[in-house]
């Protein structure tokens, strides 16, 4: 697989390590009433879809940036890639 790195262009997937579902960016509020359940869901449960999946890859053998890759997990087709910090900033300004 080639991952279209937003800064470096197409890079071999072997340069990256994989973390998992991009919902791991959305850390729950520890002061919430439902924090115990929220953190259980955050750490352990996953949607695990068979189609389009947004996921975190780390460019370990490259520029060490975190990337959010949008990929079809049934065909391995990559639909997009963005810097995780951009995704987080957009979320931050929206929230």
């Amino acid at each position: 697989m080639l991952i279209p790195h937003p800064l470096l262009g197409p890079r071999d997937a072997g340069e990256f390590t994989y973390l998992g579902d991009a919902t791991l960016l959305d850390r729950p509020d520890w002061q919430s009433e439902t924090a115990a359940q929220d953190f259980y869901d955050y750490v352990y449960t996953r949607d695990n879809p068979s189609g389009v999946h947004r996921e975190l890859w780390y460019h370990e053998y490259g520029d060490r940036s975190w990337i959010v890759v949008t990929r079809n997990v049934s065909t391995h087709e990559i639909l997009g890639a963005e810097l995780a910090q951009d995704v987080a900033k957009t979320k931050g300004s929206a929230g």
Partner: protein, 416 residues
């Protein structure tokens, strides 16, 4: 029809005209007492033990495609019980005991061969871990033998114990482990279940669950609605997808695991060997092909095929301990979709929906568990209490802090 040597002899003389299909092609009825979703090894075994051991009737087994076409037909056929953790070891040992008597029980040749498995170790720390695991296995009543380098050499003189990057120091042997013919296991259970009255319904995909007031009433399928008060789902690989139809979100990710078979070779590998410095396991099939595999591809996938970097890594690991297989040609590779759970251990449990039971999260250890998984799942569905050896395989164990984490890798499914 019982299979035996006399029968084969008789059929050979009469042109093999007397054989009948091993199971009926049953049309779905409107309702049953039990529905098992998933016609893989675990689902078929569940239906078989429900009927045979727990004496239940009116059982349907629903399969989306054809039985035995998923992971029971796509694995590396290894059967073993060399686990360490208290919640796991008795379960897998129960499974191995069922394997030892499986062919007699099913009257079906599953080619069960207890040829032994060796987990190699390559440094002092791994040796200490192997001793600890071996002691845990012995304390649980199963078998384990610690081998030093010479002990490994005596069994496998061709292993590269000297010049490898990670020299072999010894290994932990489980003599009762071995391999079985994966397809025959599915077919044997299907035939046995059918003989005990189970309706095996193929090309019947579950598209939804009928749930009223928190209680399951039946399933919607591509062949119409089928009602039943007790429904067990055993569809590992696709667990998240199927259980999402009942509104449940599971602690599971689906990953692809590749496996490989070489051309047929003369017998060179009498048992099963796993490499300790990486992740590589190999055995030789009765047809002569070397059957081997390694790690997951590491990313979520439902694709039934992997990528080349993993192929390269697995082959490199293999050649580093078996230089003599470097010229063997790989005939086939394939990928299977694994339910990877958050601690590397499976689930056999009730769900929050009454009457709906779940069996999954087998990671890449599902094949060896087939008999015990079916037996314990049947026990749960028949009695609403977990079987004695499966009490720890709970769906809520992460919430309560009772992980069964053999590798200590934490909630990172691709590392188990």
């Amino acid at each position: 029809m019982r299979y035996n040597a006399l029968r084969i002899f008789k059929e050979a003389l009469t042109g093999h005209k007397g054989w009948t299909p091993a199971w009926r092609d049953a049309p779905p009825q409107k309702s049953y007492d039990f529905i098992v979703v998933g016609g893989g090894g675990h689902g078929l075994a569940t239906a078989y033990y429900l009927a045979k051991v727990y004496k239940k009737s009116r059982i349907a087994l629903l399969e989306r495609k054809w039985i035995g076409g998923g992971n029971v037909g796509r694995n590396t056929t290894i059967v073993r019980s060399n686990y360490m953790m208290p919640g796991n070891q008795p379960f897998y040992e129960f499974s191995l005991k069922l394997w030892e008597n499986l062919e007699q029980d099913l009257n079906f040749n599953a080619m069960m061969s207890q040829r032994g498995i060796i987990n190699l170790f390559h440094n002092d720390a791994q040796r200490d871990a192997a001793i600890r695991r071996g002691n845990s296995i012995l304390l649980h009543g199963a078998d384990a033998v610690l081998l030093d380098k010479q002990g490994v050499k005596d069994l496998y003189p061709f292993l590269n114990t000297e010049s490898a990057r990670f020299p072999i120091m010894g290994g932990l042997l489980q003599p009762r482990a071995g391999t079985a013919r994966h397809d025959a296991v599915a077919w044997g259970y299907a035939r046995g279940a059918d003989q005990h009255g189970v309706d095996i319904i193929q090309n019947c995909e579950v598209t939804g669950f009928k749930i009223e007031n928190g209680e399951v009433k039946g399933v919607e399928t591509t062949r119409g609605d089928i009602m039943a008060p007790k429904i067990g789902v055993a569809v590992a690989g696709r667990s998240s997808e199927v259980m999402a139809k009942a509104g449940l979100r599971l602690p599971i990710e689906s990953h692809v695991l590749q496996a490989f078979v070489t051309e047929g070779l003369k017998p060179i590998l009498p048992g099963v060997i796993t490499y300790g410095a990486g992740h590589f396991y190999i055995s030789q099939s009765d047809k002569g092909g070397l059957v081997f595999g390694g790690n997951l591809d590491y990313y979520n996938s439902y694709a039934w095929r992997g990528n080349l970097p993993t192929v390269e890594e697995v082959v490199e690991e293999g050649i580093s301990i078996f230089p003599n297989i470097a010229r063997a040609r790989v005939l086939r590779t394939w990928g299977g979709i694994m339910d990877m759970s958050m601690d590397g251990s499976p689930f056999i449990d009730q769900t929050p929906i009454k009457g709906l039971y779940f069996n999954g999260g087998w990671c890449y250890g599902g094949f060896k568990a087939t008999p015990a998984s079916g037996y314990c799942f049947a026990h749960l569905m028949a009695t609403d209490t977990p079987h004695d050896v499966a009490t720890a395989l709970r769906l809520d164990r992460y919430k309560t802090g009772h992980m069964i984490d053999e590798l200590g890798a934490g909630a990172q499914p691709n590392l188990h």
